[in-house]
Structure formats: C-alpha cells, structure tokens
Subunit: 783 residues, 2 copies
Amino acid sequence: MNTSMNYSKAEDWYIEEEKFDSSWLGKCEAIMCLGNGYLGLRSATEEEYLNEKRGYFVAGTFNKFDDREVTELPNIADIINLQMIINGCCFTLDKGTIKKYSRKLNLRTGELSRCIVWISPKGDELAIEFYRVVSMADLHLIAQKVIITPINSNISLKIISGINGRITNSGSQHLSDGDKRLYEQKYMQLVQTTGESQIDFVHNTSLSFMIDNETCELESRIIIERRKIYMEYEMDVPQGIPLVIQKISNVYTSREPDNADIGLKKLQEKSLSLLKNAVAHGYDRIAYDSATEWGKKVWDKTPIKITAEDEFDQLSIRFAQYHLAIMVPSHDNRMSIGAKGLSGEGYKGHTFWDTDIFVLPYFIFTDPQLAKQLEQYRYLSLNGARAKALSNGFSGAQFPWESAWLDDGEVTPVWGAADIITGEPTKIWSGFIEQHITSDVSYGIWQYYKVTDDQKFMDQYGYEVIFDTANFWVSRLEFSEEDGLYHINNVVGPDEYKEHADDNAYTNYMAYWNIKKAMEYYQYLKEERTSIFNKLLNSLDLDASYEMWVDRADKIYLPVPREEDLVIPQDKYYLTYKEIDLTNYKSQTQVDTIFLDYNIEQINHIQVSKQADIMMLFLCLEDMFSYEVKKANWDYYEPRTLHDSSLSLSSHCILANDLGDYDKAYDLFRKAAGIDLGTNMKSSDSGIHAASIGGIWQCIVYGFGGVRMINGKLRIEPKLPKTWSDLEFPIIWHGQKLIIKINKNRLQIENITKEAEVEVTIYGKSYHIDDRLEVDLPEGCQL
Amino acid sequence: MNTSMNYSKAEDWYIEEEKFDSSWLGKCEAIMCLGNGYLGLRSATEEEYLNEKRGYFVAGTFNKFDDREVTELPNIADIINLQMIINGCCFTLDKGTIKKYSRKLNLRTGELSRCIVWISPKGDELAIEFYRVVSMADLHLIAQKVIITPINSNISLKIISGINGRITNSGSQHLSDGDKRLYEQKYMQLVQTTGESQIDFVHNTSLSFMIDNETCELESRIIIERRKIYMEYEMDVPQGIPLVIQKISNVYTSREPDNADIGLKKLQEKSLSLLKNAVAHGYDRIAYDSATEWGKKVWDKTPIKITAEDEFDQLSIRFAQYHLAIMVPSHDNRMSIGAKGLSGEGYKGHTFWDTDIFVLPYFIFTDPQLAKQLEQYRYLSLNGARAKALSNGFSGAQFPWESAWLDDGEVTPVWGAADIITGEPTKIWSGFIEQHITSDVSYGIWQYYKVTDDQKFMDQYGYEVIFDTANFWVSRLEFSEEDGLYHINNVVGPDEYKEHADDNAYTNYMAYWNIKKAMEYYQYLKEERTSIFNKLLNSLDLDASYEMWVDRADKIYLPVPREEDLVIPQDKYYLTYKEIDLTNYKSQTQVDTIFLDYNIEQINHIQVSKQADIMMLFLCLEDMFSYEVKKANWDYYEPRTLHDSSLSLSSHCILANDLGDYDKAYDLFRKAAGIDLGTNMKSSDSGIHAASIGGIWQCIVYGFGGVRMINGKLRIEPKLPKTWSDLEFPIIWHGQKLIIKINKNRLQIENITKEAEVEVTIYGKSYHIDDRLEVDLPEGCQL
C-alpha cells in the first residue's frame, strides 16, 4: 500500500501524487487519465517503465483480433513517449536521486503536470517539468510541453520521440503496420488500420524547441523501424537555461462520419494540415482553449459545491464529473460509455447496464442532450438486440449484456479467470443469461423521458424500445403447470455470485415493470397519439404483442416478503443456501478474496452476494416497497454482501440514507469514492470504474440531496452528512434548470430557466416553483 | 561501448559477461542464445528489463500477420520468466547493489549460467545462481535451475513464474490467445495457434523446489490472465540455506510430422505427459544428457584446434560451431537456416544466399547428411521457385531472394527504413531483382556434390535444380542488337549499394556458369545415365532446354578486365560513378554510417560498395581468374568497400590470404569474428549473423587452412597467421574423414575413415592419401 497519493490540498481541484514508485504505475495512469469522449489517453509517463500500461483509445473504433476473441477497443499507437538522454544517462526515476517530485491532475483545466528535480546517476542535477493536455476544444488534439533546466552543469541532451505502433491490447494486436512518413523534416505520420473492422487511424506529431525564449532548430535524425517512426534530436543546454520542448499530436480515423468516405490519402493530408495549424498555435494556446471549454462544458454548467469538514468530499464529486466528461462520446450517438470509460483495456470498451443505471442519471439530470445521445445509441443497437433474441429463440429485442458497435449484438467474452479447484478457465455466463440488461435499457429510457419530458424522443425512439423489450420478456417467460405462473429461470441477476438463479427478484420485477410500462404506453398511444401508434402497429405487430402482454404480465411470479421477517428471497434458493463466516472477505481492502478459498461453483451455493441485488430493485422501483420491507431486507442482505463489484457501494449508500442510517451512508459514500481515489494502488490498473463514478454523483444528488424521480414526479428529500454544512448543485427537470441549495436546516430551489413551473414533492408536500422556493427541513433531517 | 565482455579466459570454452548493464541487453541475448535447430531461445534473463528483447522461435513455423506483411517466424510465448520478490523487493539488477556478477555461456555443454551476489534496496544480501539449458538431446525441452541463498538474514520469498503469451514480433501478434490450463496444481499449459498458417503450439511448464536437499511443496496460487498463465509461490528461506528452484518446460507444435494429424487435444495430452517425464528427470540429468549430445554431435565429431597467441581465435571458431549447431534444423528437411539463425526477429527467419554460399560449406565438409537436408530444402522449394519465375514472365525455376516455407515463393518485404532525404520508406529491390540467388542455389548443390560425391542426391534432386535454374537464366537474358550479346540488366548484385545495375559481373558470370554446368550434366546424363536422363527429359522438356542453353551460353556478355589496369567493372556503370572520400565511413565501428549523409539513390551513383561483389566471383569461380586480375581488383575495390554487410569480411579475409597479404587476412578474420563477438554492443540485437559465423569457419579452413574444392578437386594450401603455431581440423571428402594438422612448416593429412583413397593437390603437386600424408610447406608458407 502506498500512502503518497494526496487528495486533501486546500485547493481542491487537484489530485496529486507526491511520491513516485514504479511498482504502482497503473493507479495514476487511470485516475489521472486525460480525454474528451472522443479519445482517452492514460497518463503514462513520457519516459518508459517496465510495469507501465500505456493506453490510448478512440471511442467506437472496435475491432476483433481473431475469431476466438470478442471485439474490443484497440489500444492504438503511443504518441506521448519522449525519452531524454542527459550526458549519456537515460532519464528514469528508477535510477539517480529524486530531490523533488509532484504529479498533479488539475480537474478544472484537464491539465496533467509533473514537476521534478532529479539528479542523474552521473551527478547532473536537473529541474524537469512536464505538462500535457488532451484538448476539450479540439477532440483530436494532444499537446505536451516539457521544460528541462540543467541546475549544476551544462548538459549534452539527446531527445528521442515519435510514434510507436507496437502497443497491443495485452498482447493482441489489432492494427496493421501502416505507412510511416516524415514531412518537411518535421512532421511525423503513422497510419494504422484495424484488421477486421478496417478502420484507418492517422497519427501525426511534431516536436519543436525553444531555448532562452527563442525557437531553435536542433540537429535531427529520422528513425523508421517496424511500427515505429521517431526523431532523434541533439543539443547542448547550458547550465541554468531552460529548454522548452513542445510535442503536438493528433489522431483522426475513418470512423468519423466526415472521414468515412474521403479515403486514406485525403485523411492523411487533412490530418497533417490540421496538425500544422495546431503546431502554429503551440502548447499554451491549446491548453488555454481546452481549459475554457472545460469551463463551458462542465464546471460553469454543472457546478456542485460541497462544504464539508473533509475537502476530499468536494474533490470526489469533481473527480467524478471530470471522468464523466472524458468518458462520454458527446460527438457521436453511434457509441456509448465503456465500463472503464476510455481509461484502460478493462472490459474491452464495452457498454454494460452500468451506463443505463449508474452513469446515465448524471447526464439525464445535467445534460439532457448528451443523455439523449446515449439513449439513441441503444435505439440504434436494436437490430443487434433483435438478432440476439432471435438467435436465442426469443421474440422482440434482447439487449446484449456487453455491447460494442451497433450491430455487433452480444460481445461478452465466454471465458474468464482460472477456477482455483480445477485449474480450468471459468465460463462467463453473463452474455448468455444475465438478462436484466434488457429491462435496464427500457428503464433508462423511461427515466430519461420522465425527467426531461422529451416527448419527441419517445415518439421517434423510446416507445419502440419499450415495446420490443416487452416482446422479448413475454417470449422469455417460462410457464409452470405447478403454480400456473410464469417464471424466469436460469439467470444471473445483478449479484454475479449466483450464476444459475431461478426467479431472481430483480429480474422478475423489472421484466414485469417493462411489460406493464409497454401496456401503459400502448393504451396511451392508441388513445391519444394515433399516428405514432399506427406507425408502430405495423412494424411491431402491436396488437398481437399487446395481447401477449395482457395475458402474461399479471401471471409473472413476483417473490414477496416472507411473513416471518419480510425478507424477499433474492432468488428461489438463495435463502436455503448454507451460511459461512464472511468476516475475512468483508473486511478486506481487496475484492474477490473469497475466490482464494472457494470456486464459483461453491460460491453459487453460499448465502453470499457480490453486490447490490434486491437493493437495486428498491432503488429502481422504490414506490413498490414499504420502508419496513426495505429495512428488513437491508438488515438481511447487507451483511451477506461483499461489495466485490464497484456497482454496490453507491447503491447501498443511497439506501442507507433512505433508511435513516446516516453514518453508514456517509461511510459507504467515502468507500464508493475510494474505489478509484482510495489507497488501493492496484484497483484502477485496468481503468477507472465508470459505474462507481456515476454512483458518486448519485450518492450526493440521489442520496444526500434526496433528489429522485418517482413514478414520473420530482421528489426532493435531502439529508446531509453530519460533516457537511452546505450542498449546492443544479439539476434540469423538464427543461428547467434548478439550482438546489441545502444547508443545515433549509432547502432552497431556484428555477433559473424560468420558462415553466416545476412541480416538486418535499417530504410529502407538493410545491410549484416558477422562481424560487425555500423550505425548512423537517426536524429529523436537520443537522 | 561496453568493455565488460570477456572472451579471453584461460579456459576458452566460455563467453563471459563480467559486468551487467541493462542498456546493452541485446548483445548477450543473441550471442549467448540457446537452441538446438528445432527451437531457438534468446538468453533474456529470468527477471524482466525495459529494453530486453525476449525471443523464442520454433524453426519452420512461419506465419503472416496480415496481407501487408510477409511471413515470418513467430516469436512465441515466453516461458523462462521467473520473478523473485524478496521481502517485498522485486529482484532486478537495475536496483540495489551488485557485489558479484558473472554471466557465462559454456559452448561445450550449451549451458548458460549467471552467478550473482546482490544486495536488495532493503539491505538483504543474496547469492543467486541461474542455470539454463535448451536440450540438445530432446529438442523440445528447456530446463532452468535457480539457487537462491540468503546471506545476511532470513527472507520471505515470493516467486511468480509461468507462461506469457503476450510476446509479439515487434508489435505484430501471430498467435491466438488459446487454452490455458493447470493440471494437478502443478503443470501449467498454454496453447497458441498462428493466425494464418494455423500451426498449434502447446507450451508446458512446471516448477519444483528443494530446500536443504529436500523437495518441498510451497503454498501456491494460480493466476490466469489474458494470454498468461502463472503460479505464485510463497515461502520463508532461512539465512544461509539455499533454495533450489527448477523450472522444466517444453514446446510441441503441429508443424512436426508426428503431430500434424493427431489433433490439438492429443498434442496437449502428449506434450504434458512428456513434460512429466522430464520433470521426473530434473535439471541436472537433462543438462547432462544435453552436454553428452553436444559432444557427440559437434565437439567430438568436428574438433577444431587453434594454437595461437590469442585464445580469442580458438574461442571464435568454437563460438561459430556452437551457433552453427543451434541454427541448423537437423530434424526436418522442410526448413533451412535463417539469416539470424533462431536468435532473433531479424530478417524474419528467412533463408537467403547466406545459407548456400556462406554457411553450407561448413556442413558440406563436416556433416554431409545435414548439408544434404539443406539442399533437399531447396529442391522441395522448387515449386515456389517455378511459380516465381512464371509470375515474372520467365521459364524454369527462379529461387526467391528470401525464402520461408516451401511453397511460399518470394517473401522479401517490399519496404525498408526511411529515406533521409524524402522521409519516405525506401523500396527493397532485392526480392524483385537480386537474382543471383538462383545460381547460388545451383552452386551450393554442385559444391555439395563435388565434395561429398553423393551421386544419389544428384540423381534424385540435384540435376533437376541445375537444369531448371539454367532454364530460368536463358529466359532471363536480354539480347542486345548493338553487340549481338545477351545481357542481364537491372539487377542487384551481391553489392546492395548498387540497386539497378546492368551486367553485374558476379550475376553474369554465375548465370553463365549455371547454364554451362547444365549443359555439361545434360551431356553426361544423355551419354552415361539414360534412365535418369529420360526421367528428366519429359518433365523438364530437356532437349528444347538444351538447345536454348547451347544457343545462348556463349553469347552472354562477361565483363573482362580493362586493359590498362586489369580492373573488371563490377557493373556497366560502376567505374564511371563519382568517387568520394570514404574515410569516415570505413573507419567507423558502426555500419551504414554513409546513410547519415547520402540516401540510397545517391549511393547508387557513387563508387562505393557495401560488400564483397567481384571478390565473391573470385571465390566461387577462382580458377577462371589469374592472380594478377584478382590482385588488381582487390587493390581497386577493397578501398571502395565499406564492409557494411556481414557477408564481406570473411570473403575478403580468404582472398587477402590467397593474394599473400597475410597480416590483412588475419586482421579481417578478427574483424569478421568481431561482428558478433566484438565490442559493438548493438550489432547483434536482432540476432547473430549466420553468414558471418559460417564465414569464421571459412576463414580458418578455406583461408588459413587453404582447403578448397576447385573444379571438383580437393586442394590444400595452408598459410597460418603469424601468431598461430598449430591448426588442426577434420574435413570429410568423398566420405573419407581427413584430419588435417598444420604447424609452422608442415602439413599432415590423416584419412581416418580409410575406406577409399583421397586425391589432393598441395601447392601444385597431386597426392593420393589412403592413410596418412605429411609434406613440408613451401618456404613462403612457413612461419
């Protein structure tokens, strides 16, 4: 464990690493990742280390290495490398002496910096500063600046830098060794093309140098090797004089609609010419433009203020908003958010229910346009979902557990890590039977609709998805002669430690909800929106569908609370499984430690849950269950839940708050924020946890802020943690931007759009806000 | 430059590295490479370093990454890794303190060892010994032993070791992520399959531990990740007690005829069961069996003794014989020797004329059975050669410049390094127009035939190759109305600094020789071997061919010495090109430095040669040219030759000796041996230089030993370097093994086979040896 990570600076816009240890590179590479939704760039260092994991991804550029693998986001050529050789000594923090060290990510500007004073093994002392941005203003642009100042002597400096196309996805190479060119002795270009999907990438980069504020031309040499193009520069830098190196790079691909048909040659020319413009602007201007865009897009638009004893809490929401901004492909509705954003190879860039249930609410409530695009992605994936249903013998649309390019359908890998007992790889069942994703997608669309009131979206896209997912569910149901009811057997519910569950409560209830919602909208359209109704009537054979829905919806088996203790069985057999002492596995700072003692086959038959399962049901359909039922189930299941998934802590935090266990709620919030920002130095190696990061916002706004859309209505019932004095955040409800301010005993809501009145329920009372509302919090909710 | 390489130990069987520097890893990885002709294993260390280049190849398992690349030998999964974590500190020589260090390759036994005393950054002092062999007795087997002894404290030791399938060929991944299995909590298995050629590899490995001479079972944990299977072991090792770790591994592929049809599952079972046997034997037994086989196969069979002032000379021939033994695929005649053997990715495992002209003579004279297999490879490649001729509009068989699997035909890459002027990649013309390879193949066959007298080989294979290559040449010739002669325009000769040469002397003479040889054998077969003649008559349309040969052979333009200075123009325009001062490029210890100032287009038009060109002609067809002509051309061309190819120094050494410049000859021999064994720490990074290594033997036996096959006759005219007192080596001539001993003034030849009389010419006099011959050397040849 490394304690050098520092999040508690007075200026709470920074994540800082105060001590370098090359054993723990993955952490900062991921949590300090740069990006803009188009591209993601792990914050690997300019110099190389043995255990680094360079990562650079462009959203939506999926490729399949071979038929044994599933499609994934290719890890493209490294362009940030920059090797410095000082009097023959290669700069590396693994050798020599580090006199001063700080690495920081400025969340406000998106700038990464490192300030180092280093003494080389030969005794040369140098001050080296590194700066880097991925532009939020020009999605294709990466800019780097390095300032190197010899402190105790003149130095002879050699710089080697360029583009390295040898990077792989942990050994799988998605990209060809394409054209490598040097233009005008200055601009390097490397082309890569994916093997299966045939997407072209054009990388351009150029270095320039300033000494004593004067641009200078260095002696240089081009090196072209297999998959590599590099320039080598040499110069003498006098003692005390800073040399400023700028490296400006860009990437364009044929995936972008603008580039899809222009051909590779034109793409090479276009991207090169755009690089030349960027080089003319230089690092400082690029960084300034990017920071300005960050303000417009995130910080000025959705400022969230937490006044708390520990500034970590304020930082954690900024950290979350930063990552939510860099993970979302706001430029293209044909792609969605990966479970690791664009910050690592983990989960292959695939989209899970994490997006619909954990991440989407942030965008629904703060950036409806972006939320709409994410829902359009699901609509555009309908063909793949229909194909998946068909291939499984079902009707309608069955959304893939893991989703990549639109028509790809299911892309979940089939094999996972080793079974500790048999030594064989374990089968990943999610792609086959983790079926709740289909109602999660519908639920996300419904939530978007209800919060934004975007009727046009529903007319164009939304109803079709809700109808056709209902069609899947009625075809999926299994009739039992025994009880005359419909069951859903052999599924994985949210809790992935139960692999072949029958009648998983979450799955059954959500399927029921999905069909009921379809029935409701069928009636509504038929009665009030004839033209839309007629359009869908034909394409989806709506009348026949409706008959099936009506016939089956109320015959779905919905597990009810046991009489004796109000516990709802998570699935048919869960409550019959043996119980073991989970202390060791729950107290660990590591996840998955139970696998050191049991294999999945055994865990399947123990009363232990990986993550929120019933709890998710209470959150999604909260008005269907009473406080008593929720409390009883919390008391039963939470002690049996290891939180081995990053989808667990934030949901539990919200529920703990709902149920009145405020200290536990705050504790869970801190733990949730700690999944990436915490001291476990290995937890983020393969990328940040998008769902957990969406969950941080949910803890604050859904949890402590008490904001919820319940059955189409806005409800706000705040309850701040003891250590917070103020919380302020905006939400957008039906197109009206509301600024919500909460302090120890009052709630203030200001409608700054003022175009329409907003209805809100606060502790059971309904209010209408057209301008501003202030109410006292009930006593138990005051601090 | 690193001067820690030590070759001059009293015991001249070792190459030793006395100082470790992680900047120069490639050198020892290549020159200390282990292997057995079936597999080649670069001597990367157990622990990992940033600039290492792990390499592990199985002969003949070619695969093409994609259609932009040519086929190459895949760099397969790393199996020698073994990470040790001592009280939390990862063992690496880049940190901590090295108190003692020695890495040695024992050429006699093929065992690699490292003996280190190391103090970890935490102050733990350890003695660590590493031993490794690739078995010469069981071609599939690799054995490692590590002995770790804590010197100043008890230690807690963690060992992580397994199979890593993330290795690529400089970024290109040829292999799938296949099955990973752990059997009996002990045996790890990883399967890989090549993408295009669909060759299966099965890797097995197992670790075992002994402490205080007792086998012990350690606590272990299996780790399966993408392309990786590992075990992690933990134990406490008391101060002063050595822990012995053994790691035994094997590899089998579906390329082996035995395994081609049994299916992957059977191959997995078979290889696993063979590994279990090997594990039962243990490291010491495996190493002993391998060393025994080394004796039988190489050292006892072909002992070469040099008594010289500098033991480097003895070591250099042992080094050469060692590498010749590990590069030759003696198990399978469907594969040949790559330009880097199996010691690196360089030249992609492809076979060039290097094999036929530079390497083959060693095997022809010392192991005719192996030489025959190499010639059979050329015969089996005839279809590819015919296809190449046909696709270029020619008749007969045109051998590919670079050759891989039998029917692949031409596999030379089309693009090379960057042009320093235009920044564009340069086109590699060799595959298109470096055509002399076709007569080189015929020449190799003829040489094999004349030295071994293997008539059966000629009947079955040899004549067909010589006839069909002659057919290529007659179709390739270009008639000139101007002089009524046939020319060969637009070729690359041996000298690759002249890319579009007309009438390259070597090419024209060797084509002429090839056709003339075909004519001679046509006559011979027609007159004396009717059945063979009739067989080939039909298949090759011999009569029509013969007519063409007769019509054209004597009308081929053969450049003759200029009257004024006896210089033969290397090609039509060479002597007209401008001359520049080459001092800087000739005195460099680096090759290719001329490219820092000129691009290939410019070098094409300068009187500068990369390598032996006319000199190769004098060596191959030495009885066609007088001493005066040779001397005149040496004096003209050698100063214009940069020796930027490893195919140059040894040929020049032999000629210098022939021409009487003995000091120069010895100097060139040392330089030739220094190509791999010298102090240039980067020269062998991508693999050893097979041609240069064949050349070391040629310098000694052809050069100083004066052995030559001239027009079918054995000639021996020794001339030892001043610093040598004795030279002793065996050759096999017409099936008779001759032991040749040369000292300051006498030559002794003993026929130890004694089955037939051998005729030999020594300084113009002919002798017949049935037992033993001793003659005084002429005065000028005595020391």
